[in-house]
């Protein structure tokens, strides 16, 4: 579970990468130091190989005193001609594997006094004489170098006091070039060379001090590496925590909002990064959700409020009437009141259903080509009795105009607008209904001569359950959904419904629909 968290994943990758980098660095540093140490030791070994090689030589004839070996005059030169510079550092350096070292000793000009010891014992004339100024190189101390010289038949000619007894003669690969070769023997670094006749000279040194140094280096490097890793991980944790904190804030805020507190917002003090922008976007989304939720809540509350009143009428009427015997007039009055309440509930539920269908978009609009003037005329004819009751005259100006849409629904719009105009009119007033064409639009205009709509109410009259009179309009019987339904229907036709009400002299509602162009 822990690794599903972004913070832990960040931390894991961060740690892995840091570990890899540190390991790489440490290892490289160690290898570099290791190579340097070996290079230095090799240099020193080569410095010492030359003098030892020079110390081994064929005695001069005078010295030899008739002891001429069958080997004859070979080996007059005690080594190959060296050439080239010092070995380049950084060469791969495999301990223990013998390999040639390109010429490292060229100083054969200076020769010490020839040795006089035991020359006569050798089957062929070889002597080994190391001058005292050279022997210093092999004195016993912490970094004591040693040398061993073998004759070609394998017998040991000479060995320094510092050489341990277990130094063995390297195998001579016949045909190999007489070049200095490095080998590792245990912790000893040894450089040997076969002379052309086959004698073998070996100088060596224990690597123990270098290895101890390298071990210390390794310890220091790993210690440092661990410290840096811990620091890096701590820093990474801090960074990850900092980076994650806004996400935590966002998720906490979202959880609060999901819990029902729609007024909550994400703190967007740091809006200059990506998460700040995300928080701003989420906040605006939450604001819109809150608005939609509040509207929905108000709508539901209004709807239930509208239903409660007729139910209260029915309940109280029946309970009051049934409390005792009544005469038939009283019963009739009660039943009539119940009927009015039930009618009111029917109107309300029908309106709510119509709105719900328009909202959900499930309402299958019956799209047809129709003449708006016919629809308007039919709707107005149905309303004439209502208008006559209230002494209102309806003036029509309805030229034929072809439109595309749901004629029944638009008839409902016209009915609502015209009956509103009749109900909210002055005595002996007038309602004017006209259709006209404006560019590609058909305009249906309904004007009344009533008191008009106050400016502060005008923007809100298309809201559901909004009434200019804050109480139930018991006199007109409206429930405050008519204009909302009109608006929803016109919107479904991609049209527009607007109202204007010039200072107290009636209201004008304008429906704008897309018209079918007149055929030429």
């Amino acid at each position: 579970m822990v690794f599903h968290s972004i913070r832990w994943r960040l931390q894991l990758w961060h740690g892995l990468i840091l570990f890899a980098v540190l390991t790489g660095f440490g290892f490289t540093a160690y290898r570099l130091q290791h190579a340097n140490e070996l290079y230095r030791v090799d240099q020193e070994l080569q410095h010492r190989l030359g003098p030892v090689l020079e110390a081994l030589r064929r005695p001069t004839n005078a010295e030899r005193g008739g002891l001429a070996g069958p080997g004859g005059p070979d080996g007059a030169r005690a080594g190959p001609s060296g050439s080239g510079g010092p070995r380049r550092p950084g060469d791969p350096n495999r301990p223990g594997e013998p390999r040639p070292v390109e010429g490292a000793f060229g100083d054969r000009g200076r020769r010490g006094p020839p040795p006089r010891e035991s020359a006569g014992e050798f089957p062929y004339p070889r002597e080994f004489r190391l001058g005292p100024n050279r022997a210093v190189l092999f004195e016993s101390d912490a970094n004591s170098f040693y040398y061993v010289v073998w004759l070609r038949d394998g017998r040991e000619l000479s060995r320094s006091t510092t050489a341990t007894s277990n130094v063995s003669r390297p195998d001579h690969v016949s045909g190999s070039r007489p070049v200095p070769t490095i080998r590792m023997r245990g912790t000893n670094r040894e450089l040997y060379q076969f002379t052309p006749p086959g004698d073998c000279i070996l100088v060596g040194r224990s690597l123990a001090p270098e290895l101890a140094n390298l071990r210390q280096l390794a310890l220091v490097l790993s210690g440092l590496g661990c410290a840096v890793l811990v620091l890096g991980l701590a820093g990474g944790w801090w960074l990850a925590t900092r980076a994650i904190r806004p996400i935590h804030d966002i998720s906490a805020a979202a959880a609060t909002i999901a819990g029902g507190d729609f007024s909550h917002r994400i703190n967007t003090d740091n809006t200059d990064n990506e998460l700040g922008q995300l928080a701003a976007v989420l906040n605006s989304t939450f604001a819109r959700l809150e608005g939609a939720f509040a509207r929905q809540q108000r709508f539901t509350a209004d709807a239930s409020h509208e239903l409660r009143t007729p139910i209260a009428v029915i309940l109280s009427q029946t309970q009051a009437t049934l409390a005792r015997e009544r005469n038939s007039t009283e019963y009739r009055e009660t039943l009539e009141a119940c009927q009015r309440a039930a009618q009111r509930m029917r109107r309300l539920t029908e309106s709510l259903l119509a709105l719900a269908r328009l909202d959900a978009g499930h309402e299958t609009m019956k799209w047809n080509r129709f003449d708006l003037s016919h629809t308007a005329r039919d709707a107005i004819e149905l309303l004439r009795p209502l208008a006559e009751d209230r002494h209102i005259t309806i003036q029509c100006e309805l030229p034929s105009t072809e439109c595309f849409g749901d004629a029944d629904r638009l008839a409902q719009v016209i009915t609502n607008l015209v009956s509103n105009a009749i109900l909210h009119n002055k005595k002996d007033g007038e309602v004017r209904v006209s259709i006209r064409r404006e560019n590609d639009s058909a305009l249906l205009v309904v004007t009344d001569t009533g008191p008009g709509i106050p400016a502060e109410d005008r923007p809100r009259i298309f809201e559901r359950f909004y009434r200019t009179d804050k109480s139930r309009t018991a006199t007109t019987g409206g429930i405050g959904l008519g204009l909302a339904i009109c608006k929803a229907i016109v919107d479904a036709h991609d049209g527009s419904l607007d109202v204007s009400s010039p200072a107290g002299s009636g209201a004008t509602f304008t429906v704008r629909l897309a018209a079918i162009p007149c055929e030429a």
Partner: protein, 217 residues
Amino acid sequence: MRILIIEDEPDLLRSLAMALRDEGYAVDTAENGENGLFSAESVAYDAILLDVMLPKLDGWGVLQRLRNSRKTPVLMLTARDTSRDRVRGLDTGADDYLVKPFDLPELLARLRALIRRTSGQATTRIEIGEVALDTAARSATRANANIELTAREYVLLEYLMLHRGQVVTRTALYEHLFDEDDSTLSNLLDVHVSNLRKKLGHEFITTRRGHGYCIEG
């Protein structure tokens, strides 16, 4: 007991008035906030049923202005049932709160409780001497024997017993027991008092000449 109903839905108003008159209350009605406030300020009602959604002046406004001058108990009626609305109603000075649609028996019981609390009576039973009154059952007994009372006689007895030990003026009785439609004949009260004395004993209700009537507690 005289009640004012302020309600703009005519059918609801009619049924409430009918139910309350059946219970023996004197009932006045108002169909909008302004008229309602005028009546409420000019008459000492025993209780007011007040709708919240009213034309001209809404229920909150009526209540707020009424509280400047009178402490009449008010029972608010509303279709809004969120607790915020209730809290607002009670904080503005309403004494009780009933959500539409309501049951008439509950409304009547709350009204009785409201009137009883206002007169400092905790239970529905009032006993004075051997006369006992049950305001829930609207019945009276004398020495455990049931006494038949007319609706007017009952409300007169109830009013006097709720105000035991106080002298109740004739004006107050007229104001509380008769509504504005009653033809208030000046001797009607004397007839009711005389009938009550016949049924409960002559000493039960004393007359303070020039002041009014009193039941000694």
